[in-house]
């Protein structure tokens, strides 16, 4: 029984899109400062869960209490969307976008003040992109875009931060920066839910893992919730566990994939290693360097 009350309490949550069930029977709590990985195959409801918590989609049944508020009623939640959903051609700079996160603190009819500018500067420094402050957002690489979106979440001074696949297709430096930001958030008592594909990282660097397959398969400490039988239940027949000299590897076809992502191929560390140390980030899951990053490396 935790001494502090949970910041997030989800009870029997079910979300339907029209008649299709996107997510059912999800029950878990998140404590202040807790770092939870939300994992599962593509189409398993990870994004839906985060959107329901922040109030972007309605729960069909069940209850979501953020800090004892209903979803959408509490501004202490920040949400980092998937990069693909934004209009990157919009004529704004990195600074402009991060400052948008302060809008509700600035208030109606007011201009941002010194405190807001300081918060933006601190957030840009935290994700290591101060030098990109005046760059137009269409000229950012994928990793820089992701860092900017995280900076925008940081300036909201949220108590609960939800991130939708922030680690997908990132260069190693950006992934390391984001993991460092997660460390800072946890140290400051901010709870973080991260939707992700990388099971190794989930096991090594997260306090808990929530395994989804359009329903809740398991939730708890990663070494329990990501046990082999749970993974088989979530990833289905596509899952193969291959023994090799350096531990065993979990290979998965996209199980109930319906949104066109690449297959997940995650090298799984032996238990004794995974509990004691973090894996170097260069083995952290599948990585595709996008064209922009290639271009900037050449130049």
């Amino acid at each position: 029984m935790p001494l502090t009350p949970p910041i997030l309490e989800v009870t029997d949550l079910t979300v339907r899109y029209d008649s299709r069930v996107a997510l059912s029977d999800v029950t878990f709590t998140v404590a202040p400062g807790e770092r939870m990985a939300v994992v599962g195959p593509n189409g398993s409801g990870k994004s839906t869960l985060l959107k329901a918590i922040v109030g972007l989609v309605d729960a069909s049944s069940g209850r979501i209490a953020v800090h004892d508020h209903a979803p959408g009623q509490d501004r202490c939640v920040a949400y980092v969307p998937q990069r693909a959903g934004l209009d990157w051609g919009f004529p704004v700079t990195v600074y402009d976008v991060v400052l948008m996160g302060r809008a509700h603190r600035v208030g109606w009819l007011r201009r941002p003040g010194a405190a807001d500018r300081a918060a933006v500067a601190a957030a840009l420094a935290a994700v290591d992109i101060e030098d990109l402050s005046s760059r137009r957002i269409r000229d950012l690489s994928g990793g820089q875009q992701q860092r900017m979106l995280i900076a925008r979440a940081l300036v909201q001074d949220a108590r609960l931060v939800l991130m939708d696949e922030p680690l997908n297709n990132l260069d190693a430096a950006s992934a390391d920066t984001i993991m460092a930001v997660l460390d800072d958030l946890s140290a400051n008592g901010v709870a973080v839910l991260v939707a992700m594909h990388d099971l190794v990282l989930a096991e090594a660097r997260f306090d808990s893992a929530l395994l989804l397959a359009r329903r809740m398969v398991a939730c708890g400490p990663p070494h329990e919730s990501l046990a082999e039988d749970h993974l088989r239940a979530a990833y289905g027949a596509g899952l193969q566990i291959v023994e090799s000299p350096d531990g065993h590897h979990v290979l998965s076809d996209p199980g109930c994939c319906d949104d066109g992502h690449a297959a997940v191929i995650a090298p799984k560390m032996p238990r004794r290693v995974a509990t004691g140390m973090a894996p170097p980030s260069h083995i952290a899951g599948p990585r595709v360097v996008d064209e922009r990053e290639r271009g900037s490396r050449r130049g």
């Binding site: 501004r75 959903g85 919009f90 004529p91 704004v92 700079t93 402009d96 509700h104 109606w108 130049g299």
Partner: protein
């Protein structure tokens, strides 16, 4: 040389002789910033078709204003136009609530229906003692009929539009750029979207007299789309969009004065030329950047 300069000065001063053209220039001066700023939102939100539809949907409002007032009362037609624009905006958003009706279909259905209603009302025989409405003036505008009274009304409405946008600038930008953030910050997204539609409708209504129903969308979209090509920041885009609209409007008035072409066409075509030039210039810059980048990108051939 002096003769040449004198000729240009005489040519430029031409329209200013007598009081006739001054309110026309003043109308352009008022409309350019309003269209430049509102057009910027229209372009960034990809609502050009919606803007065109609203301009057409205003026709029955003007006709009803005319009939109710029993003649060409500017105030009655203005009120009617505004009412029709708001009815169209509400109708379109009501239709697209249902998933079976795509947004562009909803826009097409509503604007064509309202335009047809407008034609039906206008084509009726005028009651005795009332002059018939001249449809072509509404369709292609008649800036040469603008007087100082019209200019003051345009200016009053235009100032309200710009003040509202300035006051709610950061919220309107967030709602336009990232509706998800607006929702998570608990900004009243639906109210902000509706407000922008109302501002658009009001802008179209004050612009109609100058450029008419058919070409209104060009005066909103083309300057902003031109500015989008060559600027990196939103405020600069609004400023440049205003400059393009202003320059095109002034050029258009001179062309109208000397060549006796319909003013709306003479205003819109310079806008299009600006866009063409910006399009060509950015394309040329892009190609040059690509050819410069190629050798360094492939250092080993």
């Amino acid at each position: 040389m002096a003769d040449w300069a004198g000729a240009v000065a005489t040519w430029l001063a031409g329209p200013w002789q007598g009081a006739f053209m001054a309110p026309k220039f003043a109308a352009i001066l008022v409309l350019a910033p309003v269209c430049g700023v509102v057009g910027t939102f229209l372009v960034l939100r990809r609502m050009a078709f919606f803007g065109d539809a609203l301009a057409h949907a205003i026709l029955p409002g003007i006709a009803i204003g005319y009939i109710v007032a029993g003649g060409a009362s500017a105030a009655a037609m203005f009120g009617g136009a505004l009412g029709a624009a708001l009815v169209a905006a509400v109708g379109i958003s009501a239709l697209r609530q249902r998933a079976e009706v795509a947004e562009d279909s909803a826009i097409g259905i509503v604007f064509a229906a309202m335009f047809a209603l407008g034609i039906a009302l206008i084509s009726r025989p005028a009651p005795p003692g009332v002059a018939p409405v001249d449809l072509s003036h509404i369709l292609i505008g008649q800036i040469l009929a603008v007087g100082w009274g019209d200019v003051w009304r345009m200016a009053a409405v235009g100032v309200v539009v710009l003040v509202v946008i300035a006051a709610l600038y950061k919220e309107l930008v967030i709602a336009s750029f990232d509706s998800v953030l607006a929702t998570t910050l608990r900004l009243p997204l639906a109210a902000l979207d509706t407000l922008l539609l109302v501002l658009l409708a009001v802008t179209i209504v004050i612009g109609l007299q100058a450029v008419g129903v058919v070409l209104m969308v060009a005066f909103l979209v083309t300057p902003a789309a031109t500015a989008f090509l060559v600027t990196d920041r939103l405020p600069q885009m609004m400023a440049l969009s205003t400059v393009v609209a202003l320059a095109s409007g002034l050029i258009g008035l001179y062309v109208t004065y000397y060549a006796e072409i319909a003013a709306s066409a003479a205003i819109v075509l310079p806008c299009t030329l600006c866009f063409g030039a910006a399009f060509a210039w950015t394309g040329w810059k892009q190609r040059r950047r690509d050819t410069e980048a190629t050798p360094s990108a492939l250092p080993n051939g």
